[in-house]
Amino acid sequence: MGALMLPDLSAFGNPIDPLQALEGVDVKIKKELADVALNAAKSKGATYADIRIGRYLNQFVATREKRVQGVANTESYGIGVRVLANGCWGFAATNKVTKEDVAKAAEQAVAVAKANAKIQGEPVQLAPQKGFGEVSWKTPIEINAFEVPVKEKVDLLLNVNDIAMQNGASFVNSVIFAVNEQKYFASTDGSYIDQDIHRIYPSFNVTRIDRESGKFQTRSALSSPMGMGYEYMNARPQDKVQGVVTRYKGRYDMLEDAKSAALNASEKVKAKSVEPGKYDLVLDPSHLWLTIHESVGHPTELDRVLGYEANYAGTSFLTLDKWKSKKFKFGSDKVNVIADKTQVGSLGAVGYDDEGVKCKKWDIIKDGVLVNYQAIRDQAHIIGLEESQGCCYAQGWDDVQFQRMPNISLEAGKEKLSVDDMIKNVEKGIYIIGNGSFSIDQQRYNFQFGGQTFYEIKNGKIVGMLNDVAYQSNTQEFWNSCSAICDQNDYRLGGSFNDGKGQPSQSSAVSHGSATTRFNGVNVINTARKI
């Protein structure tokens, strides 16, 4: 059971030598394999086929206090073939990457499609997509995290732990994850797309124990997972947002944050318990990204709206009639939400999605009104689109691709407004930093969120730290209570490194940008209990 305290390494693939497997597989070899699969699928009766040849590299360095818990380099290499036959999807995957096995997988995928076509209703309608020929795309990184020696990462994490312990932490766990997806996509539309995608996520969790009272409190890192290389770890002065605690944009100072976290955790042990009631909330981007993710990102996924996720993640209250009315007031006039698969540094930025669609940017909520969803090729016709919005993704070569969330971000306020000026106008409020506990219903109406640190605001001033805070609201009420958004200077990205969806469940990574935002009169509960 102890192992449950650690991330499941098997989910990241197979361990490999850290010094190997950095170079991608030769594009010529991949094209040959792809053509074998596409031809095999067509010869068995597929009307459409695509293949993804994937090499997924992960590095995971984990420490606690003075000790290294694990260093793992993993590689997962294989192919997945998806086909349309008799109007139905079929998929097969294998880790045997030979021409013979790739052809066999294509044939298996056709057999699966044909077996299921017998119980299929309407045939799949695929939005047209032009072939791009042979193209490539790469995350614009400065330092490849896989080329940074493991020792450098271990030393950094042990330093982080040391600083936290020196500043009052009882325990500290710290990690650095690095991801490199080397993906090759080819389809019968005539695309051969080679992509090299990088992500990084440094994080820690500090625990402060008060043995006498038996109480403990934690504070986790204010970092964000990013679509960047190791340069994310080198913060410059302009990346630091000063305030009640330093927050970060673009790049991250892990050592500085570890000190703040240890001090915050000690402060939390002594903080006063919140008085439940209505408060104006001032939400920092390090917190708000998760509220955006759960209450805007998920309900605007078209597959949820249509019922494809009904058996797992759920459906959505943002039904098609609300979108068709062109006047469904999702939020106040200040609320503008954008879907963007091209944003530099974000987790969702790629050149092309996993069904060969070039990535783009579009409005989801405009001046508070619901104007669009997130769709893929077999859904585009349902909302009158002539082409897909490029939201298709699979977590690995052995998983079938499906609709996943693009970066969904709240636009910064158009008028000049700083955090200090926003707080000055709050009479009774709570300023929340960092994401904590989160839960939302299966149609995305009722939610409850916690945070990392909570500051009480009285008559325009921060007067101290609070504990046991969670806010409960209804999505539409909440976004309609949005009364002010800070300007672009405060805009920062947060994000989810592992967003789960689908059956079998798959993980994806997605960013959410925002500036500090105010919501009026939100219901706050007290979460303290005795056992």
């Binding site: 102890g2 192992a3 449950l4 305290m5 197979n14 361990p15 490999i16 030598d17 850290p18 000790r67 290294v68 139905c88 999807w89 998929f91 097969a92 995957a93 294998t94 057999a111 699966v112 077996a115 299921n116 119980i119 299929q120 209703g121 309407e122 009882s170 325990f171 625990t207 038996g214 403990f216 934690t218 019922g307 494809y308 009904a310 058996n311 797992y312 759920g314 459906t315 209250f317 052995d398 506990s437 989160f438 839960s439 939302i440 219903d441 299966q442 149609q443 995305r444 109406y445 009722n446 409850q448 969670a470 209804n474 059956q503 079998p504 509960i525 979460t527 303290a528 209990r529 056992i531």
Partner: protein, 438 residues
């Protein structure tokens, strides 16, 4: 190729071990073969067939360990993976918590494998899903579901003579049935090692009946209610609690199992007297491998007896630190109950809420194990021993520790996930707000 028998697995592992030059060497070999169908809106949405096998080698010199894996099985590849693990071990920092390897053990064979499940094909799956779709289409309802089967094997061997092998099958099915207006929803899920126990037609009928019965739900005030939790709902809550039965985090003072002033709550009366929980990998209803990944023998373990905490899980390292015998955790959890059916529990209830399942459960406070989440897919008001009407879903904020102190009655346990869990009647369960979700 993906599923090897005991002798085939042993032969590969012995060969790999013969290539090792390390002080200690541990190898694991795993394979799986299976397929799935996902459906929604009464039609198939995705389906697949996946087969994989891989081998992992951990080599240790002193307390320095390196691990490497491979999924090719010719001699040259096997030699390469051993060499790579040994090179990594030389580069690795010392692990002060490294434990010497265990020698040969005598493991029992648990009843985890079923021939019929292993023989499932894409057509078997299509036929099973077809039965589910019959139910929803005939009643003018909409089904979304998932059927998956797998055959897996796992084997470990080390340079001290330890060898263990397990082969297992699993078939799992879940379906959500909704009415066309979107005002009613029902759900069921089930998994077995044995395909013959899986009846997708009967299960889909239960989900359909909940979809029809839960339509036009009324709103009632949130607050403290007596609840009857169906086994699935109870299991959702308890799964979060079992993860806290870890001695190390309790000793470190960061768990609900931590004692004020230091130490653990082992031996304390933490729950009602009618709470008894054990795990047993040989239980034919919820079998699992009789060995843990680090080669420990997994035996029947009593976790809670008459509400008293009888055991916590100890890793080999933590057990040595504390001078106790290591206790591996096991997922074959059985919570003992009574003989009453769910219907009988409802009959004995004056006023209460019947909960089919919970959704999106997250920890709010690890200190008290306070959890939040929502009811979903069939929530009903009970009065004078009868279901009176469906009610709108609630958000709860409740701790399973508090919940198991308020147990009024337990029914007959049934297979739920990887455990056996009874339906339960709990008083004073805390609902904090209403949800419009269906």
């Amino acid at each position: 190729m993906a599923i090897l028998n005991k002798e085939e697995a042993q032969a590969i592992l012995k060969k790999v071990l013969s290539f090792s030059k390390a002080e200690f060497c541990e190898i694991s070999l795993n394979g799986s073969d299976g397929g799935n169908i996902r459906y929604a809106r009464n039609a198939v949405s995705t389906a697949g067939q996946i087969s994989v096998m891989d081998l992992a080698v951990s080599s240790t010199f002193g307390k320095k360990t390196g691990t490497a894996t491979i999924n090719e099985f010719d001699d040259a590849s096997l030699q390469k993976v051993v060499k790579r693990a040994e090179e990594l071990a030389m580069l690795a920092p010392e692990n002060p918590e490294f434990m010497p390897l265990l020698g040969a053990q005598d493991f029992e064979e648990s009843p985890t494998y079923n021939e019929n499940t292993a023989a499932m094909t894409p057509d078997t799956r299509a036929e099973m899903v077809g039965k589910s779709l019959q139910v929803s289409k005939a009643a003018n309802l909409e089904a979304a579901g998932f059927l998956e089967n797998s055959t897996r094997f796992g084997a470990i061997m080390n340079s001290k003579g330890l060898f263990a092998y397990n082969k297992r099958t699993n078939v799992s099915f879940s379906v959500t049935v909704r009415n066309q207006a979107g005002t009613g929803s029902g759900y069921i899920e089930q998994q077995f090692n044995d395909l013959d126990k899986m009846d997708t037609l009967a299960l889909s009928k239960i989900a359909a009946s909940k979809a029809l019965g839960s339509a036009t739900a009324k709103a009632i005030e949130p607050g403290k209610y007596t609840v009857i939790l169906e086994p699935l709902a109870a299991s959702d809550m308890l799964g979060n609690m079992f993860r806290g039965f870890d001695a190390r985090s309790a000793d470190e003072g960061r768990s609900f199992m931590s004692k004020k002033g230091g130490g653990t709550r082992l031996g304390e009366q933490l729950f009602s007297e009618n709470v008894n929980i054990y795990s047993d990998p040989m239980n034919p209803d919820v079998p699992s491998a009789a060995w843990s990944d680090d080669g420990l023998k997994v035996k029947r373990t009593q976790w809670v007896e008459k509400g008293v905490v009888k055991n916590l899980a100890y890793s080999r390292y933590w057990a040595e630190q504390k001078g106790v015998v290591p206790v591996p955790f096991n997922r074959s959890i059985v919570m003992e109950g009574g003989t009453q059916s769910l219907e009988e529990l409802i009959k004995s209830t004056e006023k209460g809420i019947l909960v089919t399942r919970f959704w999106y459960i997250r920890s709010v406070d690890p200190q008290t194990l306070l959890l939040t989440g929502l009811t979903r897919d069939g929530t009903f008001y009970i009065e004078n021993g009868e279901i009176k009407f469906p009610v709108k879903n609630f958000r709860f904020n409740e701790s399973p520790v508090i919940m198991l102190n308020n147990v009024e009655a337990l029914g007959k346990p049934v297979r739920t996930g990887s455990g056996m869990i009874p339906p339960m009647k709990i008083r004073d369960f805390t609902f904090t707000s209403l949800s419009d979700a269906v």
